[in-house]
């Protein structure tokens, strides 16, 4: 049970991170936009 909770937590964190990043990069006109290769 604990293992399942940890797994779901990790998955939720990963999905949230991807969504936030997408939002920051595309939807928001972020003047500090930089790609991962060149920050």
């Amino acid at each position: 049970m604990i293992e399942k909770i940890i797994l779901i937590g990790i998955l939720a964190g990963a999905v949230a991170y991807i969504l936030i990043r997408l939002k920051n990069q595309v939807l928001k006109d972020n003047s500090n936009t930089k790609c991962d290769q060149c920050k």
Partner: protein, 690 residues
Amino acid sequence: MKNDIKRIALLGNPNSGKTALFNVLTGLNQKVSNYPGVTVESVTGKATIEDEICLITDLPGTYSLAPESQDEQIVAEEVASWIVNGNAPDCVISVVDSTNLQRNLYLTSQIMDLGIPVVVALNMTDIAKQRSINIDSEQLKTELGLKDVIEISALKKTGIVELKQAVYRIFSSTSIQPNSIQIPDPIINIVRPVVDWFNKEYSISDRMSQSLALRWITTGSLFGLKTPNSTLLKSTRKSLNQIGFSFELLEPTLRYAWLDTIVPKSQQTIKTKSKSERMDQYLIHPIGGPIIFVGLLTFIFQAIFTWASIPMEWIDSGIGKVGEWVGSILPTGLLNDLLVEGIIGGAGAILIFLPQILILIFFLSLLEDSGYMARVAIMMDKAMTKVGLHGRSVLPLMSGFACTIPGVMATRTIDSWKERLITILILPLMSCSARLPVYTLMIAAFIPDNPIFGYFGLQGLTLVFMYFLGTITALILALIFHKWINIEQKASFVMELPSYRVPLMRSVFQRVYSRGAIFVKDAGKIIMAISIVLWFLASFPKSEPGETQSIHHSYAAKIGQTIEPIIKPLGFDWKIGLGLVTSFAAREVVVSTLATIYNVENADENPVPLMDAMKRDVDPKTGKNIFTPLVAFSLMIFYVFAAQCMATFSIVKRETNSWKWPIFMVIYMTTLAYVSSLIVYQGGLALGFS
């Protein structure tokens, strides 16, 4: 409202060493290099001047306060805001390249007219001496009427203490700098109404009003400032013409006339052919130059393969050992699988390519810092003119080999909007370092390592081919866009050639280190996040008891199989299709995506070497290999052209200030990628390749 923190602005010509000085004063690590136009936006940092914390702003380089390009416009607008808002800095450090004193002092004289205390930092005096240029800084100080002219070397960090002391003295001084240029009476009589207008409009000194009036009459515009009506402009220009004075040259003529009286008294020059000029006889020779350039690039791409192989093996075996160790200490179960198959196997697979990226960045930094890249721009000018661009586009395009984003930013140095737009649109076709893992994975797995011309092998040459394919296509498209985009342009290309310098290894390694750190951190964030999600998608739903667990029934397979019909004609299966989708986050994610899927599929030997898994993967329906040399080639061609980078999309939107161009870019690049891959794969099949 002014606060107590003193503010300092760094102003100077492009490539005069402002950013190098900024880094020394603030301890920051802004990019410095040896070509004009490295800094294209202003950056502020903190520095301590004699126990006082100050804010220092590094502005883009400019030859004058009358801007030609967007980066120069940033400076003009900043200066205009000082006048309009009365928030001028407490001191300007005018960074002057000693090897070209007169031209650099042109900007200094414009800054002095602003009435802001100025300290001249005479940079690169060591290089000037090597070229038999001796500058008497004391004499120059007297001639300019300034409090301090300090000899420094920003790279060697000499003269910095004296410069700080001079700035500190300025803070506590109240005296005004004397007048600079002398305007003859007949001219001052004509321009007087304009001077009075500025005087009244902004309540500024007569000297500053004169300076603005001269610039406005010469150029017809002043960025960020109100100007008198056009009738006054026309009548003033007409009156100047009547006394035989060309209005277009009004400001330069007056300033250079003043500098002509100052500079010879402060500088002694013995004209000899410099080392740089001698080297240029060969390096920018019309025939020899391009041959040397192509040879250098080929050497670099071959070195990426040869030199990186040993550290790559170390990282590969290191990741394997970490995977085994983590797998052995954790109890068997889903968490163990997620860590070993998803995170270590997936995100870890991308770390193997770190040495290759570092070697690429190392060589690109050497070429930039030595001053060679600026020569490439000059050499390519003729070829670029044929496709509707100029040599000025070459430096942004070359920096696109490292990453598209700084390349797009660097286009701010291009004065014509049409030329700038075309350069932005073709920039993503220059293979960036994120494509390197994709190319080298496919090449190492499917292209034999046959030697061809001694040092050069087939693998290295295939990599060179991919880079040249992107570049040549970019130039062809530039020609098409040039004819198609209907915008009027004023085009000019004048670039000062920097002297050749031995690259400062500290600066080169700093850049290599920061790129490496970002790459590793990236693996720790977005690639890991995607690997985690993919692991879930590839591992679930779990099969019923008694059935064999197969990845072909997973959610990942279902998503991939939905895409498969579209990409099947290119030779790609659902696993590659999934990689094409995830690589929109960053191109190299396709590698970690494949690694995660193969790790889940081969759960009994984790982490599985990606290349081996790709080679032995077969289609369960046909029994044929999924990856063949033809599929690998088709995939590489796809990645040369495809627009898979969110960050590029975003920066193009920002720099073009519209959605139209980034959307156009994605459509044309995706179409190009699809059609090219289709031709390669179907053509290959028709020719009998498998």
